[in-house]
């Protein structure tokens, strides 16, 4: 790849740390990315407005994007609001995460059929679309890395995740603003996208600074009308992410967090939060790294054809830890403790990183606004 201007490109390192030249694509030219992606057989999933929120769904043109909209978020609260400009990606993160597409909420993982000679067992053909994810944020790239380890790095690989993930093209966007619920800077995951994407965009007033990090990304970029970004555009792009970073106000103190939590499994704060927690599972459902599921038998009326349906499940559900001898985590206290210690402590033992990327979804989408950063802070307070 030609690279006459390495000194400038170095300011926007790509996933390998190899300087790739950044380009500028005007908004009108960017509109053709949908055709380019569709032409390559991708189903494009991106942000769009639905049900009072910016959700991730299939998008077919620039018109589907939430142009001129933003979100206002707090503990237990999310509101759509008008922006005073026409930004396409001028929002933060919403109720959905990309795991909806990589790890479907419900799918058939196996089937059984009764034949004359007894039961036969199959795993169904799985033919998912080839996804292009448009508008992936830095914390979400981190969440994908976390789920990659869960589903693909162990001795057994999840076939559904593997297939969807391998085919997916990732177009990241550097955040231009942060919500009060964000704490990516504490988790070291954002707001700058540094790796794990094919293309990364930074939105300026009249277009995008775009860098490719992979050959797939380069190929797509080459089909858009673009020119090398100017030094001024690169400076503006850097300022955009800088501004977002400065807006992140929430903090989670991660110092020794694993040991602190494990040393405090009897802390009175667990009782306190259990008074407020509804054990409703919303936090785990919106969390982009939570991966729990259970399998249900769905049989036809004759009972001769049975499908094993895997569905998202959560450690907040009473039955989750059911054994014939009794339910292990039979109190909200023990279930909240499982969630928090799994995300922030045992995940480190299991997968070598935190299970939290600081996206703030669990804070915004908890119906009663329980905030894990506050809970951790309280647990860190010495008890008398």
């Amino acid at each position: 790849m030609p690279n006459e201007n390495a000194a400038v490109s170095k300011r926007l390192p790509d996933s390998d740390g190899n300087p790739q030249q950044s380009h500028f694509v005007a908004t009108e030219a960017f509109a053709s990315i949908f055709e380019v992606l569709q032409g390559k057989g991708y189903t494009v999933i991106g942000p769009t407005i639905d049900q009072h929120a910016i959700v991730y769904d299939q998008v077919r043109s620039l018109q589907d994007l939430p142009q001129g909209w933003t979100d206002r978020q707090g503990a237990g609260e999310y509101r759509l609001e008008r922006r005073d400009d026409n930004a396409l990606f001028g929002y933060v993160v919403g109720p959905h995460s990309w795991k909806h597409f990589l790890f479907p909420p419900a799918m058939t993982v196996a089937t059984a059929d009764k034949t004359a000679s007894g039961w036969t067992f199959q795993t169904p053909e799985d033919d998912p679309p080839k996804y292009a994810f448009l508008g992936v944020r830095a914390c979400e790239l981190a969440a994908m890395r976390v789920q990659d380890r869960v589903f693909m790095a162990g001795p057994y690989v999840d076939p559904a995740y593997h297939q969807r993930r391998s085919g997916a093209l990732i177009i990241a966007v550097n955040c231009s603003q942060a919500a009060p619920t964000c704490f990516c800077t504490s988790m070291g995951t954002g707001p700058q996208c540094t790796s794990g994407f094919d293309l990364a965009l930074t939105e300026l007033t009249d277009g995008f600074v775009i860098a490719a990090a992979t050959r797939d990304g380069e190929e797509i970029l080459s089909e858009l009308k673009s020119r090398p970004a100017t030094v001024e555009e690169l400076r503006q792009a850097a300022a955009v992410t800088q501004r977002a970073a400065e807006q992140v106000e929430r903090r989670l103190d991660t110092t020794n967090i694993r040991d602190v939590l494990f040393a405090n499994l009897d802390h009175p704060r667990w009782d306190d939060v259990a008074q407020r927690c509804l054990s409703c599972a919303n936090c785990t459902m919106v969390c982009p790294t939570c991966f729990c599921s259970s399998v249900q038998e769905v049989s036809d009326l004759s009972g001769q054809h049975v499908e094993r349906q895997r569905q998202w499940d959560s450690c907040f559900n009473f039955d989750f830890s059911y054994m014939n001898g009794g339910v292990i985590r039979d109190t909200t206290r023990s279930r909240y403790r499982q969630w928090l210690t799994h995300k922030l402590a045992s995940w480190i033992d299991q997968f070598g990183s935190s299970g939290c990327v600081g996206c703030g979804r669990c804070i915004a989408w908890c119906p009663v606004g329980i905030d894990l950063t506050e809970e951790v802070a309280a647990i860190r307070e010495p008890t008398s």
Partner: protein, 263 residues
């Protein structure tokens, strides 16, 4: 098994909702059958066979002295008794009268109230006899009913979900109406079963499937009140189809007593 299991369907005070779900499911029931013999189902056929019944499905709540007698006999006749719907499992919407003076109702509604024989309360079947399995909902979910019968016929204990409505909202991608629109919703304290329909139509959950296991009602009502809903409206919200279930009842009574204390 030489003889097919005998199924009885019994009705007490209720609307037609669950009955419709049952009748709608009849085709499937018959398919399930060859497997069952419908020995008692007044609404579907005039055939009345005496007990014992292997499975008794009981719909409706107990509101009259005669009902209270009849359910005892059904219990004696039934090997496995399943209550279906909010009326049978929690007293139903008619249990609202439990908070008021029935005599006054009678005088207001009927010209000759002395002809009406009724109890002061509408109560769940389980308040009168031992119940083997409760199928919740107002109305019940037909798929769940089939699953219950299929399980019982196969000699398994039926398994219906005990998790909150919220989980189903999230699985189907519904955006939370409480968080995104400030619409009060009973979903977090309500047991799943309907498939989270109301939030998908931009409404809060009405609690048709009754309290979820270990429902934390106090936290939700505190939150609703803090967000600006008047306490008496929260009481009203809780006193729906499952208003007389122990959990919902205790919470609405608690809120009401605060109200009275505070004048």
């Amino acid at each position: 098994m030489s003889e097919r299991p005998r199924l009885g369907v019994f009705k007490f005070a209720s609307c037609d909702g669950c009955q419709l779900a049952l009748l709608d499911a009849e085709d499937q029931l018959l398919q399930l059958a060859g497997a069952v013999r419908i020995a008692y189902f007044l609404e579907a056929s005039s055939r009345i066979e005496p007990g014992p019944y292997d499975i008794a499905l009981v719909e409706g709540s107990i509101t009259t002295p005669a009902d209270a007698e009849r359910i005892q006999q059904i219990r004696r006749d039934a090997k496995f008794l399943v209550t279906i719907g909010a009326c049978a499992t929690a007293g139903g919407i008619q249990a609202l009268r439990n908070w008021s003076d029935t005599d006054e109702f009678l005088r207001a509604v009927y010209a000759r109230p002395e002809y009406i024989s009724t109890l002061a309360t509408s109560t769940a079947i389980a308040d009168h006899v031992r119940v083997d399995f409760e199928l919740r909902g107002c109305p019940i979910n037909q798929q769940q009913l089939i699953e219950v019968l299929q399980s019982l016929l196969a000699g398994r204990r039926p398994r219906t979900p005990t998790h909150s409505i919220c989980l189903d909202c999230k699985r189907r991608g519904t955006v939370c109406v409480m968080v995104a629109a400030g619409t009060p919703c009973l979903g977090p304290v309500t047991q799943a079963g309907c498939g989270a329909i109301c939030p998908a139509y931009d409404r809060g959950c009405y609690g048709c499937y009754g309290p979820a296991v270990q429902a934390n009602l106090a936290s939700l009502t505190t939150h609703l009140i803090a967000k600006g809903e008047a306490r008496e409206k929260v009481v009203y919200r809780l006193r729906g189809f499952n208003g007389y279930s122990p959990e919902f009842r205790a919470e609405s009574d608690r809120l009401e007593s605060i109200e009275e204390r505070e004048g």
